[in-house]
């Protein structure tokens, strides 16, 4: 019994760790799509944010291994939060290019997003190789806090939420709640949704479509960059210039979550669980005994995405004007 509880706690905390970046990026994508702009540049934005954030960490952290190891929770968390904000600003700057092309210049949203998806990894690898000589950027700090104060003593909940976690978990929860309140409870949020459903109607009552769409794209860029940073520091101690399709997975999460914050949370949890099974099936005795190739397990999150999309895409409630260029002159 004790073994089983420990096992479930383990799986849950792995799941939480891998779902948080997905959740944050998917929330960003949700805000963006609700304003009527599709943002499939999130993959590139995540890579760029992670790159900038990890660069900051590399220069700001203690330069000896021992010192880096001995950092207190507060030091780690401060470094983490500043890195996340810097990553977010990096993502915001990149998404500004997307906003400029797709809103001001009325260019094709898919093409400009694709270009950004190409720019980010290319630029990152180029700079990393020019400056560090390799495509990996390694850092020393492990952001996991072993125990978070007295809260860690609470049975089960303490083990899941307050032991061996990084501060990203709390950032994710705050982002989710803030996005919910923003979209459904504030005037700007309601206007945002109006922009995505019927921009001409919103325009006719005095909503500035361009401003709101700019804001939404920049917000998704910020959250995307932040999510990229959190992804990069959660998986290991080096960043290789890839977020393994998380930017696109986030869009799948958004579709599965039907453009609603708490369903997005559920969808992100589902994908996090799939990923946990894929990456740590050896810890699960029942799965390990099946003797299936590791490559098949790694396929699971992607196959699961397809299955879920098949089940949910028919009855999707996508914002009606998502992906369409807004031109005041047309009807």
């Amino acid at each position: 019994m004790i073994v089983q509880t420990a096992f479930i706690v383990n799986v849950l905390s792995y799941t939480l760790e891998s779902m948080i970046p997905l959740l944050i990026v998917a929330i960003g994508a949700m805000i963006c799509e609700k304003s009527g702009v599709t943002n499939i540049a999130l993959e590139g934005i995540m890579i760029f944010g992670a790159f900038i954030g990890v660069m900051f960490v590399k220069f700001a952290e203690p330069q000896s291994l021992l010192e880096a190891f001995n950092q207190t929770n507060l030091q780690k968390s401060t470094l983490f939060l500043i890195g996340a904000v810097i990553g977010g600003v990096g993502g915001l700057l990149l998404s500004w290019l997307h906003a400029y092309a797709s809103i001001s210049m009325k260019a094709d949203q898919t093409i400009s997003a694709t270009a950004l998806n190409l720019v980010a990894p290319a630029l990152m690898v180029f700079v990393a190789r020019s400056v560090f000589g390799g495509r990996q950027i390694a850092f020393r700090t492990s952001f996991k806090m072993v125990r978070v104060g007295v809260l860690a003593d609470i049975p089960i909940i303490g083990e899941i939420f307050f032991q061996n976690v990084n501060v990203g978990l709390y950032v994710g929860i705050i982002v989710l709640l803030a996005a919910f309140v923003f979209v459904y409870k504030t005037k700007t949020g309601l206007r945002l949704m109006a922009c995505g459903e019927n921009p001409h109607a919103a325009d006719s009552v005095g909503v500035n479509i361009y401003k709101i769409r700019y804001g939404a794209v920049l917000a998704s860029g910020f959250l995307g960059g932040m999510g990229g940073f959190i992804f990069a520091v959660s998986v290991g101690k080096e960043f290789e210039g890839t977020v393994s399709g998380y930017g696109f997975l986030a869009i799948a999460v958004l579709i599965f979550g039907n453009w609603r914050p708490f369903r997005v949370l559920f969808a992100a949890f589902f994908f996090g669980l799939m990923r946990t099974i894929a990456s740590s099936y050896t810890l699960i005795p029942f799965l390990n005994n099946l003797d299936i190739s590791q490559h098949i397990y790694k396929m699971i999150p992607y196959v699961a995405t397809l299955v879920v999309l098949i089940a949910t895409s028919r009855s999707s409630h996508a914002p009606k004007a998502a992906g369409k260029i807004y031109d005041q002159g047309t009807r």
């Binding site: 499939i40 290019l97 092309a101 210049m105 009325k106 260019a107 094709d108 898919t110 093409i111 400009s112 694709t114 270009a115 950004l116 190409l118 720019v119 290319a122 630029l123 690898v125 180029f126 190789r129 020019s130 400056v131 000589g133 290789e240 890839t242 393994s244 399709g245 696109f248 869009i251 799948a252 579709i255 190739s293 490559h295 098949i296 790694k298 396929m299 992607y302 196959v303 995405t305 397809l306 999309l309 098949i310 895409s313 028919r314 999707s316």
Partner: protein, 408 residues
């Protein structure tokens, strides 16, 4: 005699003017603007790095040489005479094919970002046939190629079917199919024993390498002409690619099928109303698109010394990235088969130049940066071009309006 030459010259000038004023040329203007911006950005990046190193902001092992680097970059496929031209043509073949794949899908209103997976799957099946089947020379590579094409088509067909039956967005499902193809390939290579084995003297036993085995020579595409290309052995890949350009051009512009698929691309509702089976069209065009990508995969793999590696970064960087390049090429070539052919050659040219900037101590990844900047600006410059044309029209209208007003 002199008259004849001048007549010839005027003819030539007329031809030049005709080409420059043709519809295709006008549509290509945004691409040229974008190429200019992209290369300008690349040179600017080189200058910044050169300056930073000169000012000791950071140090590198070898100081970059700015002017040397720019010259190498711009010389592209002409860096080493015929040898590098041969290399460029060899490189261009799969690029043109994936560009055609993505471009064909664009023409029919679909975004096939799944070309990497289709390419990989086609290549995988070609390796399988190449290694497991014994056949004499022309039949062996032909069989491997056809099987690879069909495999790529199947991979595209799945995406098309998911879209037409279940309304699954093709971009997201294609990306998932790319990852599934990659892990499937790793699994298949291990399971079907397609790995290279080598004899290890130290442990006195056979060991398994992390890349696929060498195919028998009967599975290689016919190749030759090494005396023409200064020692570079070119294969028929580029001819296959050019043939594909012609075939797709004919299919799109001269056949009912092509017309139907294009019509669905312009307006799906209208073509549905006109009685076309749009659901079937989606599946069909994704399958054709996938077949082209699969063909690219076979052209890449059915050559001596080309292997698939078992680790993710190499698989992504060396193999699947060609599929992503297809997107750039299709955009740059405006999805027109002939434009795609030219864009594929251009990309191969810039890549070739990128390889040679190593000599000036720059990183060859700069070529990728340049390509992606070109794509961004081609998205922008289509819009910019439209804006300019509209402004011209407005100005012309304004000029006429006062004249009309006075007479009234």
């Amino acid at each position: 005699m002199k008259k004849e030459t001048s007549a010839f010259m005027t003819n030539l000038r007329d031809l030049w003017r005709k080409v420059m004023q043709s519809e295709g040329m006008k549509r290509a203007i945004p691409s040229f603007i974008a190429i200019g911006f992209g290369i300008g950005f690349g040179i600017l990046t080189m200058a910044i790095i050169w300056l930073l190193v000169k000012l000791n902001v950071f140090n590198v092992y070898n100081d970059p040489q700015f002017f040397h680097g720019v010259a190498r970059l711009l010389a592209g496929g002409f860096n080493k005479g015929m040898y590098s031209i041969g290399n460029m043509l060899h490189r261009a073949a799969p690029l043109i094919l994936t560009g055609l794949s993505v471009g064909f899908a664009f023409k029919t209103g679909l975004f096939n970002i799944g070309a990497p997976g289709q390419l990989l799957f086609g290549g995988l099946v070609a390796i399988f046939i190449g290694a497991k089947v014994t056949l004499p020379a022309p039949w062996h590579w032909m069989l491997a190629m056809i099987a690879g094409v069909l495999a790529g088509g199947l991979w595209g067909l799945i995406v098309g079917a998911l879209k037409s039956i279940f309304n699954v967005h093709e971009v997201v499902s294609s990306i998932m199919m790319n990852y599934i193809a990659m892990y499937f390939a790793f699994w298949a290579i291990e399971t079907f024993d397609l790995l290279h084995r080598f004899y290890d003297r130290i442990t006195d036993s056979f060991r398994v390498a992390n890349f696929t085995l060498t195919l028998p020579p009967s599975a290689y595409l016919p190749r030759g002409l090494s005396s023409v290309f200064g020692g570079f052995t070119l294969n028929i890949g580029i001819l296959i690619a050019l043939a594909a350009v012609v075939v797709i051009h004919i299919v799109l512009n001269k056949t009912t099928l092509g017309y139907q698929l294009k019509a669905a691309g312009y307006n799906r509702d209208a073509s549905k109303y006109a009685g076309m089976n749009t659901k079937r069209d989606i599946v069909l065009s994704m399958a054709i698109s996938g077949m082209l990508a699969g063909l690219a995969g076979t052209v890449m793999i059915l050559v001596p010394d080309k292997k698939m590696f078992m680790d993710q970064p190499t698989m992504m960087g060396e193999f699947m990235s060609i599929g992503f390049d297809g997107i750039s090429i299709a955009l740059l070539g405006l999805s027109e088969p002939i434009g795609v052919g030219l864009a594929g050659l251009f990309l191969a040219y810039i890549r070739q130049g990128g390889d040679y900037i190593d000599l000036a101590h720059y990183m060859k990844e700069l070529a990728d940066v340049i390509t992606s900047v070109i794509i961004y600006f081609s998205a922008l410059s289509v819009a910019l071009h439209q804006y300019m044309v509209e402004r011209k029209k407005k100005k012309a209208a304004l000029k006429q309006a006062p004249a009309g007003g006075e007479s009234a």
